[in-house]
Subunit: 512 residues, 2 copies
C-alpha cells in the first residue's frame, strides 16, 4: 500500500498509522511493517503504533530515526508492507521458556535492542524472562561482550587504565571527585563515565556538572583523558554500551536490578572505556542495594569472575553503607565538601577515609604501591596538593573554571533547620528519608538544594537543637522538604516518640 509520508519528531525508530490503514495492511499495534522509499530503494522494518486521529487515513507518520535512514521526505509516497519479526523474538521466547542462550543468540538480541529492531513489549519480555530464569555466567559474559561490541569503545595506547564504580544506594557518596584526581596524579589514566541520579539526590555526573560541562562523545572522552590523565563525564552522552541504557529503562519502573544484567552492565561500561583495572565499591547496609556481608561477598566473586573472562583485573571494596558518606547531600553541598578535602581539610573523616581506602586499592593494583601501602601513597598525593592540582586540570579540560574554590560554591539561598524533637542521643539515620527530603528540596536538578547533617550516630542533642539544615533554590520546595523532614524524621533521637497513631493505642500499650 502507498502512503503519504509525514515526519513525526519522536526521536526513535518506528511509524504511526491510522487504524484503518493498519487494518488494510493487516497489522495491529506491535506488528512490523517495511517502509520503502521508492526514490532510492532504501527501506526499514519498524514496529508500528496506530491512532484513530493523529494521522489521517492515507498518511504514515514516520519517526525521526526511520525518517533519516530511509531519506524520505514530507509529502512523498512510501510503499508500506507487512513485515516479519526478527529472529530475536524466538530467542526471547526461548529465555521465557527457561532455555540457555548461545553467544550468537545473545549477540543478535543485543544488536536488535540497539537498532530498535524489537519493540518495548519484546524488550520487556526479554528483561523479565532473564530476571525470572536468571542468566548463568556464560550468558552474562556473552551479554557483556555484546553490550561492548554494539557501542563505541575507547582504546588507550598506554596502560594501565583504571576505573572505579560504586553500586550505589548510599547518599552523599561524592568519593569519585576525590579518588579520580588522586589516581590521575599518580600517573594513571582514568576515563571516568558516571551516571546522573535517577532515584538518588545526586549522581557523580550531577555533581561534576557544578564544576564543568559533562556531556561529551566517546572520542572526546578519549582525547581529554589522553591530555589530562582523567575526566569525570556523564556516560549517557557517550555511546558506550547503549544496550545497557535501554535495559535499565525497562528495569527502572519495576525497581528490579537483575543480578546478571547489573554485573554485565557495570563490567561492559568499564571494558568499553578501555579500563584494565577496576575497583568496585559495594556498600552494605539495611537500606543499601546489598543488605548483608554474605550477599556482598557473593556479588564480589561474580564481578571478579566476569572481569577475568573479559581480561579486566577487578577488586571489590565492601564498604559501610548504613550512613551517608560525609555530612552533605545535594550537588553544591557535596561538591564543596569534596573540594574542601582536596584543598586540605581532614574532615569529614568518613569521606576522607573511604576515598583513600579505595584509591589505595587501585594504586596497589596498578603497581604504583606495594600491597598494603596504597592508602599511604593516596594520602601523600592528597595532602601534597597534587590531587587538587589534577582536579583543576580535569575541570579545565572539560571547560569549567579551574580557579574555583570550595568557598565559592554555596548552597541554595533558602534554608531551614530541622530541630531535635527531644533530648537524647542519635540512634539511627535513615538514608532513604534523607534522599526523599533532598529530592523534595530540588536535588539533583536545583544545584543548591540539599541537606547538611549536624548530628552523627551517637551525637548528643538537646530538644530544639538543629539536626540538619535543608537548603533549596526555591521557597516552595523548601517548605515541601521541611514538612516531609518533620514527618519522616530520618534522624532518630533516643527517647523520642517513634510513631504516633490516631488513637491512644501506643500510649496505652506503654502503660501496660
Amino acid at each position: 500500500m502507498n502512503l503519504l509520508v509525514q515526519h513525526v519528531d519522536v526521536s526513535n525508530r518506528g511509524a504511526l498509522l491510522h487504524k484503518s490503514d493498519a487494518r488494510s495492511i493487516g497489522v495491529i499495534d506491535g506488528d512490523r511493517i517495511r517502509i520503502v522509499n521508492p526514490a532510492n530503494g532504501k527501506s526499514e522494518s519498524v514496529v508500528i503504533d496506530t491512532t484513530p486521529s493523529l494521522i489521517e487515513e492515507g498518511h504514515i507518520g514516520v519517526y525521526s530515526l526511520t525518517f533519516g535512514s530511509t531519506e524520505l521526505e514530507n509529502g512523498q509516497e512510501a510503499e508500506v508492507f507487512e513485515s516479519i519479526p526478527p529472529a530475536s523474538i524466538k530467542t526471547i521466547k526461548k529465555k521465557m521458556d527457561g532455555g540457555k542462550l548461545s553467544k550468537d543468540e545473545i549477540n543478535e538480541v543485543v544488536s536488535d535492542i540497539v537498532l530498535e529492531n524489537i519493540s518495548l513489549t519484546e524488550l520487556t519480555a526479554f528483561v523479565i524472562a532473564s530476571y525470572i530464569h536468571g542468566l548463568d555466567m556464560d550468558e552474562v559474559e556473552y551479554l557483556t561482550r555484546a553490550m561492548v561490541d554494539t557501542g563505541d569503545s575507547l582504546e588507550f595506547s598506554t596502560k594501565p587504565v583504571v576505573d572505579k564504580h560504586s553500586i550505589g544506594g548510599v547518599p552523599g557518596n561524592k568519593i569519585t571527585l576525590i579518588i579520580v584526581p588522586i589516581l590521575a596524579a599518580a600517573g594513571l589514566k582514568v576515563p571516568k563515565t558516571s551516571s546522573r541520579a535517577i532515584t538518588g539526590a545526586g549522581g557523580t555526573a550531577d555533581l561534576m556538572e557544578v564544576l564543568a560541562p559533562v556531556e561529551f562523545s566517546a572520542a572526546q572522552v578519549q582525547e581529554m583523558t589522553e591530555k589530562a590523565g582523567a575526566v569525570i563525564v556523564w556516560g549517557g552522552a557517550t555511546n558506550v554500551a547503549p544496550a545497557d541504557d535501554r535495559i535499565i529503562n525497562v528495569e527502572y519502573p519495576l525497581k528490579i536490578d537483575a543480578r546478571g544484567q547489573m554485573i554485565a552492565s557495570v563490567i561492559a561500561k568499564k571494558k568499553a572505556v578501555g579500563a584494565d583495572i577496576v575497583v568496585i565499591d559495594i556498600p552494605v547496609g539495611k537500606e543499601a542495594k546489598v543488605a548483608t556481608l554474605q550477599e556482598a561477598r557473593k556479588l564480589a566473586r561474580e564481578f571478579i569472575e566476569l572481569g577475568e573472562r573479559l581480561e579486566l583485573e577487578v577488586e571489590c571494596a565492601i564498604t559501610f553503607g548504613d550512613l551517608p558518606v560525609g555530612r552533605t547531600i545535594g550537588p553544591n553541598l557535596e561538591v564543596a565538601e569534596a573540594l574542601r578535602v582536596l584543598e586540605g581539610s581532614k574532615s569529614p573523616g568518613s569521606l576522607v577515609q573511604k576515598s583513600l581506602a579505595i584509591s589505595g586499592i587501585a594504586l596497589e593494583m596498578a603497581g604504583k604501591a606495594a600491597r598494603g601501602e596504597g592508602e599511604a601513597l593516596a594520602k601523600e598525593i592528597l595532602e601534597s596538593g597534587q590531587a587538587l592540582a589534577k582536579m583543576k586540570e580535569i575541570i579545565a579540560i572539560q571547560g569549567g573554571n579551574a580557579e574555583i574554590k570550595a568557598e565559592d560554591i554555596q548552597p541554595g539561598v533558602y534554608s531551614a533547620e530541622v530541630p531535635a524533637p527531644a533530648d537524647g542521643y542519635v540512634i539511627d539515620i535513615k538514608n532513604r528519608g534523607l534522599i526523599t527530603i533532598a529530592r523534595l528540596a530540588g536535588a539533583p536538578n536545583d544545584k543548591g538544594a540539599g541537606i547538611r547533617l549536624h548530628a552523627k550516630r551517637g551525637s548528643q542533642l538537646r530538644k530544639g537543637e538543629s539536626i540538619m539544615t535543608i537548603y533549596a533554590d526555591n521557597e516552595q520546595k523548601l517548605k515541601n522538604a521541611l514538612e516531609e523532614g518533620r514527618r519522616l524524621m530520618p534522624v532518630l533521637v533516643e527517647g523520642m516518640l517513634i510513631d504516633r497513631l490516631p488513637s491512644d493505642a501506643v500510649r496505652l500499650n506503654r502503660m501496660d
Copy 2:
C-alpha cells in the same frame, strides 16, 4: 511545577513532557506524574513519555482520556508533580518472584490494567511473569471474575443463554454462522460476540461483516438478542472484559497464549454476556493450537473446572483440526459456503457435520433434546429451513440485507489456479500455508480475497489439474499470493519433489 496544557489526540491516558521539564520534576519515561486542574481540583496520576521536541518546554501534552477526565483546556495551566506508583507494581513484582496472588491483588491489577494505571512495560511484566510461573486455578478464577467485573455485562431475564467458542487455529472454520441460527431457532438465546482475525484469514466477526454491521455496544447486543434470539457481533466494539483485550495485545507480538490467561479470557467473555451454557470447540491437529489429544483433554478439564467455579455449565468438543473446515477460506467465500448450507446444501460434509455435532451438544445441555438426540434435532432444524429463517432475522436486526442469497456473494474478480506439480494423490494439506496465501490475497480485509480448495486429502490429481483457485480484489495481491502459493505448495501431492536445495544434495541422496 506549572505547565501549559496542550491536548494530544492519542486515545489513551498519559502525558508527554519535554525532557527538560521531566528532569526538573525529577521523572523519566515510565515514571508517574499527577496532573491537577487547579480550576476544579480534578487530578489524575499518569505514566509519562518524554520528547526532546514534540512538546515545547513549559508545556505538557495531555492525552485524550486524561484530558477528558481532568476537564483541562488547551492553553490552561496545570499543576504537575511527581507521583507514586500504584500498589499493583508490588503485586506484579510478587508474581515475577513466583508468589501466588490473592483475590484482592488480582482485582487491583486488573482494575489498573483497565484504567491504564499501569504502563505497557508493567503490563508486559505481569503477562510474562504469569506465563513463566503460571497461574493456578484459584488465580485463574480471580482473574476471570476481575475481567468480568471491570467491563460491561449482559443479563437476560430468561434462561438458558447459550454460547460457543472455538479456540482457533483451523482455517475455514465458519461453523458459527450455522450453529448460532440453529440454536436460536430452537428458542435459545445466543448473544454471540466474536473476534476479528489477527493472524488468521477471517474471524467470525470478519465473516459476519459481509452480511451486516458487527459493531455494537453491550446494551445493543442485549436488546437485539432479546428481540431476535441471537446476534453475531464483534466483541471488540463492546466493552465486555476489556482487560482481556489489553492482555492479548501484549501476548500477540510474542505469539504466546499463556494457558491460564487463555482459559480466563474465554470464560470471562462468556460469563460477561450472561451465558450459562457454553460449548467449547477444541480442534486438535499438527498445526492447530492444541497438537495432541492428551493436551486437548487436559485443557477441556480446565475449562470445565473454571466454568463450575463461575456457575457456567461447560462442555468441550474435541474436533479434527488437521484440515480446513469446508472447502473455502476468506470472508465472501466462507459466508457463501455457510449460507449455502443454511439454504439446504448437504456439502461440504466436514462443515455440515461439525456444525450439527456442536449444535447438538448445546441443544442437549439446554434440555432441548435428550442425551444422544441433539444432533438429530439440529439436523431437523437445519433441513426444515428454520435455521435459514432465523439467520435472516439476525441479519435484519443487525441492519443487513435479510434477502441476501449465497449466490449473491461473489469472490474477488481476479483469480488464478494453482496446478498440481505432478500426477498423484493428495497426501497432506498445510493449514498455515493456506492462511498465508489467503492473507497475501487480501483476506480478511478484502472481503473477496481467499481460496477455494478443489482437492481433499486422498484425492487423485493429474499434473496440471487445479489444486485450488486463489481469489483477490486486487491484481497485485493476486500475483503475490500466487507466487507464494507456488513456493509454499501447501497441498502436497505424493510423488512430487518435496523440497529442492540450491545444490544437488537431494537428488544425490536419492541415488544412494
